[in-house]
């Protein structure tokens, strides 16, 4: 069978003030009908640029060379009008951020109708009927009514379904999905991936799946292209890439990602450094500066993509033969740093001091309506009577989807004042009783690291001032501050020479280290971490995770670690609490919860997360939750999860009445394992 889409030696170059940006250099692949090829890479690797080149959507200033043929027909060099008749008709695209990808002022139905009418001769009424059919096909409930809704009336997951409906509309030959689930919560991601698979099956289209999430690749792709600095560095079937990787970068990517199905007792191997800038590339293999195996030839000549023993598996690496012959794994190639263990590690949990305790913490927001005369129309129970305690030297992970109340919990703790109801006790002191002076003093002991390292530091302050600011606020002497700042830079793995540079000169990972140094400046005992690695590229995450673990060991810190990524939590946390709509539904020792999840929500959450192992993914039975998170202003009665609960659906009516009648409370279901479910049963989902 001849390939439907064939890309040969694609080069894309943009002009910039710093010189030509060579975003893609020599990419080739063939794609057959019904097949899915994943392009994997970090930000700046050229994967999105490739998709826009196929669509012909680059600005005129971009120079595109090589050949892109669709069913034998050359696309490069076609006029924009000619390309317009192909776009949306034969090649369709699903973009990353569904919140901004739909025009806010037109209805969903109108936008799908538009897609249909440009390409096929039909009446508006016919197109509308077809649009409703398409919405039904992608699982939008009550499609005839919902077609008349505007995008802002849809949730993120629903909007992505609409995008998929639009992509399917004209029965395309190729669907390009550019990070289609990156902006979505995991349970919604699982739904959208299912819909995407269905769309591909119905249209018989070939699919290019662009993503940085190796788990998604393992579950969805047939072939994989790994890109680094604009170059394809390894290509092959999904099994070749995951089970027989030969390029150190691929091996590193696979090995440095925390795994949901592995307990995190050991440090992660680390891929040092950051991807190079594609503006000024040094000669040689672009990965050589980060590659422990690189020798002089790697640094002077760039290796070509060449076939290995199997013709479909191609690698651009001089060391590939050596790696495959000696069977190197990531442990052999990448250094695993030694992580110091905490002085409290041997002390049983019960004997450690409680450093942070929440009891019946509540934060309800009034829901207001009206422009001039505002009145309360409801209550959003953002945090609803939660209990949590953190002992000295341990890490407690707080997981949940957006809207579950994780961030509100953090903000309530950092407020250091009297909560709406319930109590917060830090280092044995009730925050409600603190005087102004004591509250200020307390700030020394509890500090925070934010999610977005760029937004959390002042871009107009040099690094020295950023780290020195909290010290100055607590009236420390000038000489003392200077010494402390350089100590801190060293502590987080930055160089003293970095002190007078500005945040924009640093990569994401380094910026997060600056944020950590600032948080540590006052020698806190508790660190609150709000998604500290979720904004970082995968190859950078491991370094920051290891740093946090090492700091905890050296300084005896206690962490409250908030994340939506369950794999990261499994790696870093000692205990984990799962939140749903403002309540903790399951809490316990981390391996216990991950191996015997008992709440149906925890089970669904874990089952929704793709695991970067194609064999495991193929054999997995996924629990896919239906619907979205209900509005926190109007949750179901009794158990808030019952509207989406797969277990609830299997219960008889008497049992269902129990769920609807009373909200379950946390009760013990094992040693250090409590769950809030009337009918909870442990299940193995990994």
């Amino acid at each position: 069978m001849s390939p439907i889409l064939s890309v040969k030696d694609l080069h894309v170059t943009f002009g910039s003030e710093a010189g030509p940006v060579r975003a893609v250099r020599g990419l080739s692949f063939d794609l057959e009908r019904g097949q899915t090829m994943a392009i994997v890479g970090e930000s700046g690797s050229g994967k999105s640029v490739t998709s826009l080149a196929v669509m012909g959507l680059h600005p005129d200033s971009a120079r595109i060379e090589g050949s892109i043929t669709l069913d034998g027909e050359e696309l490069l060099g076609k006029s924009d009008d000619a390309m317009s008749s192909i776009r949306g008709k034969r090649i369709a695209m699903v973009f990353q951020d569904p919140l901004s990808a739909l025009t806010p002022v037109y209805t969903i139905g109108d936008q799908i109708v538009e897609t249909l009418l440009i390409h096929s001769p039909m009446t508006k009424a016919q197109a509308w009927d077809r649009a409703v059919e398409l919405l039904d096909a992608v699982g939008i409930p009550d499609p005839a009514t919902r077609a008349k809704s505007f995008p802002f009336e849809f949730s993120g997951g629903m909007r992505q379904r609409v995008m998929i409906a639009m992509a399917m509309a004209n029965d395309p030959d190729v669907i390009i999905a550019d990070e289609p689930t990156t902006a979505l919560d995991v349970t919604i991601q699982a739904q959208v991936l299912e819909v995407l698979k269905k769309a591909q099956k119905e249209t018989g289209a070939a699919m290019i799946l662009i993503t940085h999430d190796l788990g998604v690749v393992a579950g969805a792709a047939d072939d994989v292209t790994v890109m680094y600095a604009g170059r394809p560095v390894e290509q092959g079937s999904v099994d070749d890439i995951f089970y027989r990787p030969q390029m150190p970068y691929t091996i590193g990517l696979l090995g440095t990602v925390p795994r949901l199905d592995h307990s995190g007792d050991t440090a992660l191997p680390v891929l040092e450094g950051t991807p190079p800038s594609v503006v000024s590339l040094a000669p040689g293999c672009p990965f050589a500066p980060r590659c422990p195996l690189a020798d002089d030839s790697c640094r002077s000549i760039e290796p070509e993509l060449e076939s290995t023993d199997s013709p479909s598996h191609r690698v651009a690496c001089f060391k590939a033969r050596e790696i495959s012959e000696q069977g190197h794994s990531h442990h052999d190639i990448f250094p695993t740093p030694a992580i110091r263990t905490s002085q409290y590690a041997d002390l049983p949990r019960d004997e450690r001091e409680t450093v942070l305790e929440l009891s019946q913490l509540r934060k309800h927001f009034p829901l207001m309506k009206g422009a001039l005369y505002r009145r309360q129309v409801g209550t959003v129970k953002a945090v609803d009577d939660i209990d949590l305690d953190i002992r000295r030297g341990e890490t407690v992970g707080l997981v949940g989807e957006s809207g579950s109340g994780k961030s509100t919990t953090l903000l309530e703790i950092l407020e250091l004042s009297k909560p709406q109801s319930g109590a917060i006790s830090i280092l044995g002191k009730d925050t409600a009783t603190l005087t102004r002076r004591q509250r200020r003093e307390m700030r020394r002991h509890i500090q925070v690291v934010f999610q977005d390292p760029m937004a959390a530091v002042d871009p107009r302050m040099p690094v020295f001032d950023i780290i020195a600011e909290p010290l100055g606020a607590f009236k420390m002497g000038k000489a003392e501050i200077e010494e402390r700042v350089f100590d801190l830079l060293d502590l987080v793995g930055l160089e003293a020479s970095h002190a007078d540079r500005y945040p924009q000169h640093f990569s994401g990972g380094q910026r997060q280290r600056i944020g950590i140094a600032r948080a540590l400046a006052l020698n806190p005992e508790i660190l609150v971490l709000d998604e500290p690695v979720s904004a970082l590229d995968v190859s950078i995450q491991a370094g920051v995770i290891n740093l946090l673990a090492d700091l905890q060991g050296r300084l005896g810190l206690s962490y409250l670690f908030v994340a939506h990524d369950l794999a990261v939590i499994r790696h870093v946390a000692d205990r984990v609490a799962v939140m749903y709509l403002g309540s903790i539904v399951e809490i316990g020792q981390v391996d216990e919860v991950y191996t015997r999840p008992t709440h149906p929500y925890t089970q669904a959450l874990m089952s929704a997360i793709p695991i970067p192992d194609p064999g495991v993914e193929r054999s997995r039975q996924r629990i896919v939750l239906t619907g979205d998170l209900p509005s926190p202003a109007n949750p179901p009665s009794g158990c808030a999860f019952r509207s989406r609960c797969p277990k609830y659906a299997q219960l008889d009516s008497a049992q269902q009445a129990v769920c609807a009648g009373s909200a379950p409370v946390l009760s013990s279901c094992g040693a250090d394992h409590r769950v809030a479910c009337h009918f909870g049963e442990a299940l193995t989902v990994l």
Binding site: D80, I86, G88, K89, D97, S100, A101, P104, T115, F152
Partner: protein
């Protein structure tokens, strides 16, 4: 929606009442109608003058609070906005002059809005190209030049064009002038008089609005949904007009609603330069030849126009943006 607008309206009415009252006190205490007669030769008999001013409620010997209450009663009971120092009724003055202003402004403003939006949108799609730079430079020149300079410069240009072509294309003194007796001559004459001020207004309005629209458009051109529209197969021009421009018009709607409502209050410089006896010129004349009731009436009228503009802009945004309408 109706409730919301009614509430906003009630708020505005209270504010407007307070503002107009404040202007009354300011105007009545600083503008002395007696000054109009101070330079009369022969001098007017003081007793007769007092009686005259008293009749028109303009006598500075009456306590200001008393004058205010009389004036307020007149406004609320008879819709009587008072008299000028020469005995003309302010209601008549304003009701004539507001239409003069409107005739002067209407075409220039509307055409200026349309041209401004189109030029702004078009230059945004051609960012940093020579055409964009040329329009940007020209627009900035117009925005920086005081409007009376533009008015006078356009007249000098018009005289030269008239002289060069040998035909009187442009007329620019007053609203109407000599005209022939053929059918439609009166109308044609009026159009001829309007041509130059309309062009000047159009230029000013369009230059200003094109800057705003260009920036709004640049933001919306970079939006993901424009890329989605292109990915659906819309040619560039259609994607730009239907998706980018449509959303970039939402903030413009606010501005346009205001400028439409305030058209009645005129443009002082344009009216003066082209000798159109409109409301803007009337307001300044009322300050020069003390006419406190005229000042208050024009202020109140402008206030009403601004309130209408605010409501119009709320409605415009609600029409343009479903998020406001339904959210």
């Amino acid at each position: 929606m109706a409730r919301y607008i009614a509430k906003r309206l009630a708020n505005y009415v209270v504010l407007l009442f307070l503002a107009v009252s404040a202007v009354y006190f300011l105007a009545a205490s600083t503008l002395n109608a007696r000054a109009v007669y101070a330079v009369r030769n022969p001098p007017v008999d003081p007793g007769v003058l007092d009686a005259m001013l008293y009749r028109w409620n303009l006598n500075d010997k009456t306590p200001i609070l008393e004058r205010y209450l009389v004036w307020l009663k007149g406004v609320f009971t008879h819709w009587d906005w008072g008299f000028t120092a020469t005995g003309a009724w302010v209601n008549d003055d304003v009701s004539i002059k507001m239409w003069v202003s409107l005739r002067l402004m209407l075409i220039g403003t509307l055409a200026g809005i349309i041209v401004g939006i189109l030029v702004g949108a078009w230059t945004a799609t051609r960012q940093y190209k020579p055409s964009d730079r040329a329009f940007t430079g020209f627009a900035l020149l117009i925005v920086c030049t005081p409007s009376f300079v533009i008015g006078i410069a356009s007249q000098i240009l018009a005289i030269n064009v008239n002289r060069w072509t040998g035909v009187t294309i442009f007329e620019f003194v007053g609203e109407a002038g000599r005209h022939g007796s053929y059918f439609g001559a009166v109308f044609f004459d009026r159009l001829q008089h309007l041509l130059l001020p309309t062009l000047a207004l159009l230029l000013i309005q369009a230059a200003f609005l094109s800057r705003i629209q260009r920036n709004l458009m640049l933001d919306s051109l970079g939006e993901d949904y424009v890329r989605t529209a292109r990915a659906k197969g819309l040619p560039k021009s259609k994607a730009v007009m239907k998706h980018a421009l449509r959303t970039a018009l939402i903030p413009t709607g606010t501005y346009v609603a205001f400028s439409l409502a305030t058209m009645f209050t005129g443009a002082f410089y344009t009216e003066k330069v082209f000798s159109f006896p409109g409301l803007g010129a009337y307001f300044v004349d009322s300050l020069m030849n003390p006419n406190p009731h005229g000042v208050v009436a024009v202020t109140a009228f402008s206030g009403v126009c601004v309130v209408c503009g605010a409501i119009l802009s709320d409605i415009a945004v609600a029409i343009l943006d479903p998020r406001v309408r339904l959210g």
